[in-house]
Each structure stands twice: as C-alpha cells, then as structure tokens.
C-alpha cells in the first residue's frame, strides 16, 4: 500500500511537471517588446510621434522651467522667455536669467537615446529601402535638433553618436565633452545626413526643407559665436580644453553653410511670404496677425501643431496673455507686456531705415524717464493711439495699442489724467466730475472695463501695451488650463531670408543684392515702400520686429554676445497714456516715457552665456566657467 501511494505521488508529480513549460520565463504583459514595436511600421510611427513630442521646440509651452510646460498643473505665472529679454516685462514678476533657467540637458539626452534606439532598429525593419532612408533622415533631423539645443546652451557636449549598452559598469557609459567646434560640426553633419535622406514634400514631419532650415539657423548661431565671442572673453578649464568658445577664423565657414542652406530654401519654389503685397499698412497689420493665428500657409516650413485642448495637448498663451477686458472669468490675464523699448524699435513710414522712438514732448527728449513734469510741453493727441499712427504695421499686429479694438472691444489702457489745474494723477484709482462728466484715471469705472496700469490682480499691463501676436481673436477665452490650440511656427521663410541677409552682411561675401532684396521683401510685406540698404544694423532691427516674441531675441542676444552690454543695470521702459483734462472740452491725450513701474535693474552675468552642466559629480564632465 505504501509503495502504491509512493508510486502514485511520483506519477502525479511527473504528470503535473510535464505541463510546465519554462513557467518563469514570462514576457511582461504591460510593456511592448522592441521587436514588436519596431517590426511593425505602424509601431515605428507611434514611436516617431513620441520623438517629435520630445523635440525641444521653443514654442508656446517653452518657459524658463523647460519644454512642454502644459501638464495638469502648468502654473508658472506665465513668465515667458520674452520677459527675460528687452521685448517684454511680466505684469508682476521682475525675474531675470537664473542659473536654473532655460536648461535642456536631461530632456535632450533622453531624446537622443530614444533616437539612437530607433537608428539601431532601422536596418532590421521589413520596409522598403526608400522608407528606410526616410527614417534615417528623420532620425538625423531629430538628433540634430537635440544637439543644437544642447550646443547653444552648454557649448561642447558629450556626443552620444550610437546607442550605449549597459554592461554593469556605469563608468563605461561616461562620454567626455567634445569641443564646441566638434559639437557644432556634428550638428551640421547631422543636418546634411537628414538633407541627403529625406524627401522634398512639405508636411508636419521632417523633410529636406526642415533640415535645411535647421542648418540655416544652427550655422548662423555658430558663425556668430565665432565672430563675436571676443566681446565676452571667458577663462577656466572649459576654455583651455576648448569645450567652450569658437575660433574667430571659423566664422566665415559657418556663415557660408548658413548661406547655402538658406539659398536652398529660397530657391526651392515651395515657400513664399504670406501676403507679400499688402494694399496698405492696415491690411499689412492684419495679414501679419493672421499669419500666426492660423499657420496654414506657404510661408511655414515647420510648425508644431496643437489640435486638442487638455493636459499635455493644449497650451496657455491665451489665458496668460490676452488683455484683462476679455478674460472671460479667467483670473490671471494680461501677463505679457511689450516694452516701450521694443515699440521704439519699429520704423516709421516717414523715416525708413531707422528706429522711430516715440516722441512725447515738443523738446524731443526721449531719454528723460523721470515721470510727468508740468514744466514740459507734451504733444497732445486726439486718441490714445494716434501717437503710433506712422509706425510699422507689425507693431499694430504684434501689440494691442491703447484703445484699439480686440474682439470688437476697445482695449482701454490709460495710466491717469492731468487735472485742469495741471496736477497729474498717475497709477492711482481716482475719478473726478467736470461739467457733469465723470473722468476716471484708468479710463473707465471698474476693473472689468480697462486693461492698463491698475495693479489689481497683476492683470493689467504696466508698460502701456498688451499682447496680440499668436492670440486667438476668434474664440472667447476658455477659463482653464491648456485650452489653447493655436499652432506654433518653428521655421518660416522670413527667418530664413533674414538668416541669409545676416550671413551675407556679417561675412562680407555672397550676393549682396539678393540679401538686400530678402531684407526688403519682408519690409514690403509690412507695407514699406522704400528700400533700405543692407547693413548689420538694418538686419538686426528687422529681426527684432519681424521675429518678435518667437523666442529668437534671447538667442540673438546670446549668439551675438550682446546680452551683457544690453543688460548692464538695465531698466526697461513704459509709455503712460494720460488724458489731458486741461484741454477740455476737447478730448486730448498726452504720453509720458517712464521706467517700468515697480521694476528693478537687470544685469546679465557673462557666465550665463553658457548654462551650468548638471550632475558633474557623477558624470565627471568639466563644468562651464564660474558655476
């Protein structure tokens, strides 16, 4: 019996175990295997979508905190990169460029790793050869984009050219920084790889053209660093090892690369300026606004699209930056305040080729920022925006000027009034009755009826200008996070034309006539009728006004090494529109140039031309100077 029982157990064990088949070798069911993902072209598309999402595009979700700032709680006060430049101030914050701002280290290397994994998989995919070439080109474009983002922030960086395998020794994964020159050359080399492998269609994905555009921008950046690096000399180990800094002799080679890439786009026959011949300045202003409100036109080379509202999908430009009067219940509008400094930069149609600072008094003094002075004779205007009448159409398309219409409402921006006795009341909530009519310092009775100078909620502009470019005029604000779906133009023809003009004028070589035409074509689109000569100043002024708020100014100041001279104890400026009640019964306005109220000076430290490299304790890299 015992033997029987024993045999039975053995038999049973045998039967049971025969059913086991490597029971512990299960594949995880919550993760997709590499072969399954990359083996299917649809899987590659999905993976590609994720790579594009990670692309460091400096768009509506780019803030000093980083990229893709549109999570479930994206509240960062709406401090846009433009506010760290001379383009704008925040209605409340006075922050500037800090060590922790505008970094991209971890995100860029994560993207590079993900691209390298795809590059590994491409040869194994069961797709046509031309499709493989397209994937190779697209990968190169994404990688170039990531390394460009790194190079312009950190200088020479670790070049991870192929995917790394972890074999248990963390130290073997460390890659020392390459020189800054090697890094820029690698960016351009990747652009060339992309150009050679990609098709020439125009879509929302990378093409030959987007790669040319990236090369144009990157080469111009590198060329400028080489040419202007000596404006801000640095020292330290990173300099000695050439991890930062480019030799001046390299400038012309990079300018040449910029010219070639720009020309390819200019001669492609696929891109043209949107509405190049406006009927008048008014039409030009509206065209300029439309170009950005709906970027579906032939000027666009590469755009980042937004389709659906929601966390990680929409963005927050409309809620942060539309004027207070159209807030539609949203509690924090009106954060973007274009500065008088920017407004001054725009040309006047009367005086082509020169900035036209706003003249407010008969003595013509534009450097007195001490506030209203009863002893000065201010020029009286019939409306709060008459003073801008002859200014470049793009000012009208970029900023909401006092008492101009936005969403069919006159946006009231008034800082105060001058009483009939000659005393001014400025930035104080007051009203007075004269002959039965009530006059309000802020131009209207309550906070919901004006958009300027009241400190209430930080919702009013403190510069005298509100923000228009990129704003959605057609739909009311939806008072919640991530509800805006306006697309962002990353590369457009106007930038390429200006890149070309700059490369020609700074290098002194190339087709100067063509470069001058490029510059003036853009001005013609803004209703200018007189051509101006190709000079460095003219190109830079044109960049400032044409590309304002497209997050280009920050990098222009960096690459031309102008940040530390432009921002040395700098105060930005405001224009106060005041109703002049001394002129009653006539309705007249005067304007006062002042330092931005409640602001402090800002100084750019030369070390900030390079960002600090994170984690040098573990990655063993040489740190940039003075961090």
């Amino acid at each position: 019996m015992t033997t029987n029982k024993f045999s039975f157990i053995i038999l049973l064990t045998g039967i049971l175990f025969s059913g086991c088949n490597k029971v512990l070798d299960l594949k995880p069911t919550d993760k997709i295997q590499a072969e399954a993902l990359f083996g299917d072209p649809e899987g590659v598309k999905l993976y590609m979508a994720n790579l594009y999402y990670q692309l460091p595009v400096e768009d509506f979700t780019y803030f000093r905190n980083g990229f893709n700032w549109n999570s479930g709680d994206p509240n960062n006060g709406g401090f846009a990169p433009a506010m760290a430049t001379d383009e704008a101030v925040h209605s409340e914050f006075g922050d500037f460029v800090g060590d922790g701002d505008f970094n991209c280290w971890e995100g860029s290397y994560k993207l590079i790793r993900d691209v390298n994994l795809l590059i590994d998989a491409i040869p194994t995919l069961k797709i046509r050869e031309d499709e493989k070439a397209a994937l190779t080109g697209e990968s190169a474009f994404i990688k170039a984009y990531a390394y460009f983002a790194l190079a312009k922030r950190y200088g020479g960086v670790s070049l991870i050219k192929a995917s790394q395998q972890y074999t248990g020794d963390a130290a073997s994964l460390r890659v020392a920084r390459s020189t800054e020159q090697q890094t820029w050359d690698y960016v351009l080399e990747l652009c060339d790889q992309a150009i050679n492998n990609l098709g020439d269609g125009v879509s929302r994905r990378a093409s030959k053209w987007t790669a040319y555009a990236l090369k144009s921008r990157a080469a111009l950046h590198a060329a400028s660093l080489a040419k202007f690096g000596n404006r801000a000399p640095m020292s330290g180990q990173a300099v000695n090892d050439k991890l930062i800094g480019l030799d001046a002799s390299l400038a012309n080679g990079y300018y040449e690369a910029c010219k070639t890439a720009s020309l390819a786009l200019m001669n492609a026959g696929k891109f043209e300026l949107f509405m190049p011949n406006p009927a008048n300045a008014e039409a030009a202003a509206e065209n300029y606004r439309l170009l950005f409100q709906d970027p579906g036109n032939k000027e666009v080379i590469f755009a980042k699209g937004y389709t659906l509202p929601g966390a990680f999908l929409g963005h927050n430009y409309d809620i942060w930056y539309q004027p207070a009067q159209v807030a539609n219940g949203w509690p924090h509008p009106g954060r973007m305040n274009p500065t008088l400094d920017l407004v001054d930069t725009y040309e006047s149609y009367d005086n082509p080729g020169h900035s036209a600072p706003i003249v407010t008094s008969t003595d013509g003094n534009i450097t007195d920022y001490n506030g209203f002075n009863a002893g000065r004779t201010y020029i009286q205007f019939d409306s709060p925006n008459d003073i801008f009448k002859k200014k470049d159409a793009r000012l009208w398309g970029t900023a909401i000027l006092p008492s101009t219409l936005w969403k069919s409402i006159p946006i009231i921006i008034q800082a105060g009034y001058v009483k009939p006795d000659g005393n001014a009341v400025i930035r104080t909530n007051e009203h007075m009755v004269i002959n039965g009519t009530t006059y309000y310092t802020y131009g209207a009775a309550s906070t919901s009826m004006y958009s300027g100078f009241d400190t209430y909620g930080g919702n009013n502009t403190r510069t005298g200008f509100s923000f228009k470019k990129f704003m959605n005029q057609t739909a009311p604000i939806v008072p919640g996070w991530n509800q805006s779906t306006t697309d962002f133009i990353d590369f457009r023809l106007a930038e390429i034309l200006l890149n070309y003009a700059e490369a020609v004028v700074e290098s002194g070589t190339g087709d100067a006539a063509l470069a001058a035409k490029a510059l003036n074509d853009i001005r013609k689109r803004a209703a200018h009728t007189t051509d101006i000569p190709l000079t460095s100043d003219n190109v830079q002024r044109e960049r400032r006004v044409e590309l304002a708020f497209e997050n280009k100014r920050f990098w222009d100041l960096i690459r031309r090494r102008e940040y530390h001279t432009e921002f040395n104890n700098r105060l930005k400026h405001s224009l106060l529109p005041l109703q002049d009640l001394r002129a009653l019964p006539a309705t007249k306005y005067i304007f006062v140039r002042v330092n931005v109220p409640n602001s402090n000076t800002q100084t750019f430290q030369p070390k900030s031309y390079y960002r600090p490299i994170p984690g040098i304790g573990s990655n063993g890299l040489v740190q940039n100077p003075q961090y």
Binding site: P233, S235, Q237, N370, N569, V594, T603, P606, I616
Partner: protein, 229 residues
C-alpha cells in the same frame, strides 16, 4: 494598553537614538584673509563687491577640482574665516590687475596672504564735487599696460559699495584708446535729469572707475565719495 504603547514608543525611540552620535567631525577652524596691494604705491586696490575680482581656492586631497570662490571686498581686502585646515591652490582670477600665478598655500589657523600686484590703471587726482545741479568728477589715468582703456565712468548708488556693476546712475565715456597721463578726464551726472532715481535731499555715494580692454578685466577705482544732493 495605551500606556504600554507609550512605553514601547519611548523604548523604540531610545533604541533608535542610541545608535546616533554627535557629529564627529570638527568644524572648519582655519581661515584665509589678506589684501590686494599696489606694488608701487602700497595702497589697497579698490574692487567691486559683485562681479569683481575673485580668488579661487582648490583644496588638495580630493578628486574634485571644483574651486571655491572668495569674494574680495570693495576696499581690496578679503577674508574667509571658515575654511578647513589643509593645503590649497590659491589663484586670484578676473581681477583689475596684471594676472598673478597660482600658489600653493598651507592654510592652518587664521592664515594671512597678501597679493602685491600691478593694477591695470591707477586713477589719480580724483575730485568729485557737486556743482550746481550736477555732480562733476575730474581725474587722471595712469595705465600700466599698453592696451586701450575701454571706458571710464562715474557711478552713483545709495550704497557705499557703488561701482560699475552696482549703480543706480552711470555716466560713461567709451574711450577705446590709450589714455593720456597728462589729460584731466571729466565726467558729470546731471542730477535734474535723474531726479526720479537720485532723489533730492538724500545722500548718495559717487565713485569713478576706468576699465582696461583686456579679457575678463574688472574696472579700477578710487574710494567712493558721499555727497548730499
């Protein structure tokens, strides 16, 4: 039961803390201080408190070569009284004087280290006076290198540590030329034109500086003057 839990908690806490020891490392007991002195005149060399001359020190015996920075005071002295006794490599960097070599210093106790250096520029015969509604500064320049003088400036601030990087109002001339030792340079700040910043009835500090055109050089100064405006 409640009492038991309380006792248990106390016992657990005591057992946990028993393994703790008071920090067994000594705090920093050493220090380094000193002065930047003009090798010719034996006077202190005036500095900026922010974005000015820095002394980098690297402590020996560690893999990390990340320097610590000592800030130099406006009057040209410096002090850090909380350093660990050790051997250090000491290098003044980004100064307003001809560069000096690194030196290895054994810091133990409160160590003194003076630097005898040649300033890029000596700003001499300085006079800063209030004349009518203006503050007028006159001075001469004596430069010790052949480089251009990039700019000269008169700086005003409510704080005594006024300088090129720390000013409310500046009046500057971009010289971009070699200075003439016999020339009297004049700079003025128009008080009326800056009345919203330099408020009448208050006292402000004024200081003249001259910046040589060389690498990361910092401006040279004379002591600030306090004026009632």
């Amino acid at each position: 039961m409640k009492k038991l839990r309380y006792i248990f908690f106390i016992v657990a806490l005591a057992a946990g803390l028993a393994s703790c020891e008071k920090d067994n490392y000594d705090g920093p007991t050493a220090g380094l201080s000193g002065r930047f002195v003009d090798v010719k005149t034996q006077e202190l060399i005036e500095q900026d408190i922010i974005l000015g001359t820095t002394i980098e020190i690297i402590e020996h015996g560690y893999a990390s070569r990340t320097p610590q920075a000592l800030i130099v005071k406006t009057d040209g002295t410096y002090a850090n009284s909380m350093l660990f006794a050790n051997t250090y490599t000491v290098t003044p960097v980004r100064g307003n004087f001809l560069p000096v070599d690194s030196q290895v210093v054994n810091i133990s106790g409160q160590t003194t280290l003076d630097f005898s250096v040649t300033p890029y520029i000596r700003v001499n015969d300085v006079s800063i006076l209030k004349t009518g509604t203006k503050v007028v500064a006159t001075f001469k320049l004596e430069q010790n290198v052949t480089n251009n003088v990039k700019k000269i400036g008169l700086y005003a601030h409510s704080d005594a540590r006024v300088g090129e990087p720390m000013r409310l109002v500046a009046s500057e001339i971009q010289l971009n030329a070699v200075s003439d030792p016999s020339q009297v340079y004049t700079l003025e700040i128009d008080l009326a034109a800056n009345s919203s910043i330099l408020k009448p009835g208050n006292k402000y500090y004024f200081r003249v500086g001259a910046l040589i055109d060389a690498g990361e050089a910092k401006p040279n100064y004379r002591p600030a003057v306090r004026l009632d405006i």
